[in-house]
Amino acid sequence: MAQLLIFTFIGIMWILILAGGGVLVTLVSKISVSGYGEPMDFFIASIIKAAIALVLVVFWVVVLSKLKNKIFQKQIKA
């Protein structure tokens, strides 16, 4: 049973990785900034994208942590 839960957890992680990539490509990579001049626009947009990517990574780790506690609750307590 414990091993089956680990397979499930790997499967969930796989889906989260693919979904996270989807969010980055479809939403975050499309962000653009204009009005500050050519190099600054690119620079500001890059910083915004990097910040959102970092927030997404933190969010991903928090979700995984919650899932881990939920899935392995019995095992951890044992």
């Binding site: 790997i10 796989w14 479809t26």
Partner: protein, 330 residues
């Protein structure tokens, strides 16, 4: 195949004399899971490094002289050798928890200096994102993460070498599926060097890879992921090891040398391995595997290999699915 055979036979041939040398020098550690606690020579890193380096040098001359291939092989040789030196220092002297990640970040610099990368991060199903500056940071993070992830799963006889063998074969298949043939061929020596080392490392182990061996395997795998532009899929193929690191870090909540913390498992009277009752011991993959019932070291190894095969299959499915672009990137 010639380079894979070189990697295999160099490791196979070098390990027996290395065991003799290490035994003579008394460079051995106690196998805590073995009945009676036999002393096992360590590290096997020199043999693993020799196998991979010799094979990659021969590939340098055998593969087409395209810039990305020659740069990729050169980066792999330098980064892997640097990882070996870092691991060897840690084998001889217990360093702080931060030493390896920071030193391995430095080992990633040749990849950037040689320009052995494309600054596009490929996400399966959705396409690529161009992140020229962010990608440099990713390279600096990737090698320490891969190195330490493989090192952290090196907890029992045969696990690190067997795990990298399965993950590398999976990654080679992924690269073949994605028609990145040259990098797929560059991956095979890692798989075959691991296979040869596994012969001596499997239960009951005659030699341990040590930090030098584990970091060589992890760093080499990381370089392939970057040069082959399969960073995300390479991570999928080693998900059980990533889960192990994630569980460890989320329970310990700090970067710490694993030798400095309480063991997550203990032994039963019939010498099986079971989860510890210590409330502040870290949660690891092995602790979860033995949570339901105590298992032998060999059974735990097979359980981890099953997980590695499962994540390898997920990586291969992802590679096939990558041909289907759900959302075309601009």
């Amino acid at each position: 195949m010639a380079a894979s055979a070189i990697a295999f036979f160099v490791v196979l041939g070098l390990v027996p004399p290395l065991i003799k040398t290490l035994t003579r020098k008394n460079w051995a550690v106690k196998d805590v899971n073995r009945i009676g606690g036999a002393m096992v020579p360590r590290p096997g890193g020199p043999a693993i490094l020799a196998g991979i380096i010799t094979a990659e040098i021969s590939l340098y001359f055998l593969l087409p002289q395209e810039k990305i291939i020659t740069k990729g092989i050169t980066a792999l040789i330098i980064t892997t050798s640097a990882a070996f030196v870092i691991g060897f220092i840690d084998d001889r002297k217990v360093m702080s928890g931060w030493f390896k990640p920071l030193a391995l970040a430095g080992a990633a610099i040749p990849i950037i200096a040689l320009g052995a990368y494309e600054p596009n991060l490929a996400f399966p199903l959705f396409g690529e994102v161009k992140i020229p500056v962010l990608y440099l940071g990713l390279i600096i993070f990737m090698i320490p993460i891969m190195g330490n992830t493989i090192n952290s799963i090196d907890v029992m006889n045969g696990i690190a070498s067997g795990f990298v063998m399965i993950a590398s074969f999976s990654l080679a298949i992924v690269l073949f599926v994605m028609q990145n043939y040259s990098v797929a061929i560059m991956t095979l020596p890692i798989a075959f060097a691991s296979l040869a080392f596994f012969r001596y490392h499997r239960f009951p182990a005659k030699i341990f890879p040590g930090d030098s061996g584990a970091l060589v395997l992890g760093a080499a795998y990381g370089v392939i992921a970057i040069v082959g532009r399969v960073e995300v899929i390479a991570a999928i193929a080693i998900l059980p090891a990533i889960i192990n690191s994630f569980l460890f870090l989320s329970s310990v909540k700090r970067i710490v040398e694993h030798r400095q913390i309480k063991g997550p498992t203990m032994h039963t009277e019939d010498h099986k391995i079971t989860a510890t009752k210590e409330p502040d011991a870290p949660i690891t993959l092995v602790r979860l595997i033995v949570a339901a019932k105590p298992l032998t070291e060999k059974e735990i190894g097979f359980a981890i290999f099953r997980l590695a095969i499962f994540s390898g299959i997920l990586a291969i499915i992802t590679a096939f699915a990558s041909g289907v672009v759900v959302w075309p990137s601009s």
